[in-house]
């Protein structure tokens, strides 16, 4: 092994073992593009956080101003149309990619021992992504946003026993209005992103720690921990 001259930071902090354990992992044979869906989902999340934080800078979460502030972003702020456009499409993209990632995990049996916990965290993540998509849909405060939320919260209200409670919890009251908009904004821009970030950290830790599942091959026994 070649002795490498250490840099200023490396000499003090010694990051090499961390880099090696994160990037120099053994990957099982047969892994391909299907195993990149999780990374793709992560990238869309990063894009959503960056553009989302930018959008909060010009968005007003009040019924009087929400629609106008979105129009302001679209038509007046430099590249506002692009920032909002990326947020809009990355949101749809993240839902699609998260579902595909889950389906790949399901069909390749990668959720089995010893990766049950990764799977459970992943399912929670999928639910949170759905929640972020649903709450974000209301924020433009146009007709489509309003009626989609009327229908969406009504569906939640149909749940036996707790439906009425959930309905009022989501709407912040009996009907959709100022309180609903602020609640959805808080969920969309603060609570759900924090939860998603936390769970992604756990999810990734487990992926790195346990390793990627080897694809099953015809006629061969599945070896779950082949890569360790």
């Amino acid at each position: 092994m070649r002795v490498k001259k250490e840099g200023w930071l490396e000499e003090r902090v010694n990051l090499e073992p961390i880099r090696a354990s994160l990037l120099d992992r053994k990957i099982p044979k047969g892994v391909g593009w299907l195993q990149t869906l999780g990374s793709a989902t992560l990238i869309t999340f990063v894009a959503l956080v960056v553009t989302g934080v930018m959008l909060t800078m010009n968005y007003s979460n009040s019924p009087d101003h929400a629609y106008d502030s979105v129009q302001y972003i679209e038509n007046e702020v430099t590249y506002g149309w692009l920032i909002r456009g990326v947020h809009h499409w990355a949101a749809s993209g993240m839902v699609v990619l998260a579902v595909l990632h889950g389906l790949r995990t399901l069909f390749s049996g990668a959720y089995k021992y010893p990766r049950e916990l990764t799977w459970i965290v992943g399912v929670l993540l999928l639910l949170l992504v759905m929640g972020a998509a649903f709450t974000g849909y209301l924020l433009p405060w146009d007709q489509k946003a309003y009626w989609a939320t009327v229908v969406g919260t009504n569906i939640a209200g149909e749940v036996p026993v707790v439906g009425g409670f959930v309905l009022k919890l989501l709407r912040g009251g009996e009907s959709i209005g100022a309180v609903t908009l602020v609640r959805f904004y808080s969920l969309h821009a603060a609570i759900i992103p924090i939860l998603i970030t936390t769970l992604i950290s756990i999810h990734l830790f487990l992926v790195v720690r346990i390793g990627i599942a080897a694809p099953q091959r015809r006629g061969k026994t599945h070896s779950a921990v082949e890569s360790r």
């Binding site: 960056v50 800078m57 007003s60 101003h65 590249y79 920032i83």
Partner: protein, 175 residues
């Protein structure tokens, strides 16, 4: 690199090539996304001053000639996505059909509201005894410069005003 050349130049070459490719493509994507984000962020600081719209305040025919008249009007103020109306006023002096002057109604000393005194034929400021003539020139008192004027246009008998022009230290041409 001497040893590496003998065993597996190919492998190390590929490794470095892939690493550089990933860094280049990743850097390009980050730059392409980062540029609009930065432009979006600094937008309020770099956007030019918006041309202020002219507001119609009166008709020339409604005002007396050579007697300053206080005209009140409402102006639409745009603040981001919020549009409000603000009540404003101006002292308007009509010399003839085409020569009209509008003064900002604040004394150039400390911003008090002044008034027209027809007996003395002067604008008087009650705060610190500033005195201006009908053209806005300082006659006496502490004001540092003539009265500020409003950008003004006469269009088909309508008087329209724009933003306030501060007359700095330079004396104005008499209108």
């Amino acid at each position: 690199m001497g040893n590496a050349k003998q065993q597996g130049t190919d492998q190390i070459g590929r490794r470095i090539f892939l690493r550089n490719s990933v860094l280049t493509i990743g850097g390009a994507i980050a730059a392409i996304l980062g540029y609009p984000v930065v432009r979006y962020f600094i937008f309020p600081a770099v956007k030019g001053e918006e041309a202020k719209a002219f507001t119609q305040i009166a008709r020339v025919s409604q005002l007396p000639v050579s007697v300053p008249t206080f005209v009140t009007y409402e102006e639409r103020i745009k603040d981001g996505w919020v549009v409000t109306t603000k009540s404003l006023g101006a002292w308007v002096v009509v010399k003839n059909e085409t020569s009209v002057v509008a003064f900002d109604p604040h004394c150039t000393h400390l911003g008090c509201a002044y008034y027209w005194n027809p007996d003395r034929n002067r604008f008087l400021c009650p705060c610190h005894a500033g005195v201006f003539d009908i053209d806005g020139n300082v006659i006496s008192g502490p004001p540092p410069r003539p009265l500020d004027r409003l950008e003004l246009r006469v269009d088909g008998g309508n008087i329209l005003v724009g933003k306030t022009i501060t007359s700095n230290s330079g004396q104005q041409k008499n209108g």
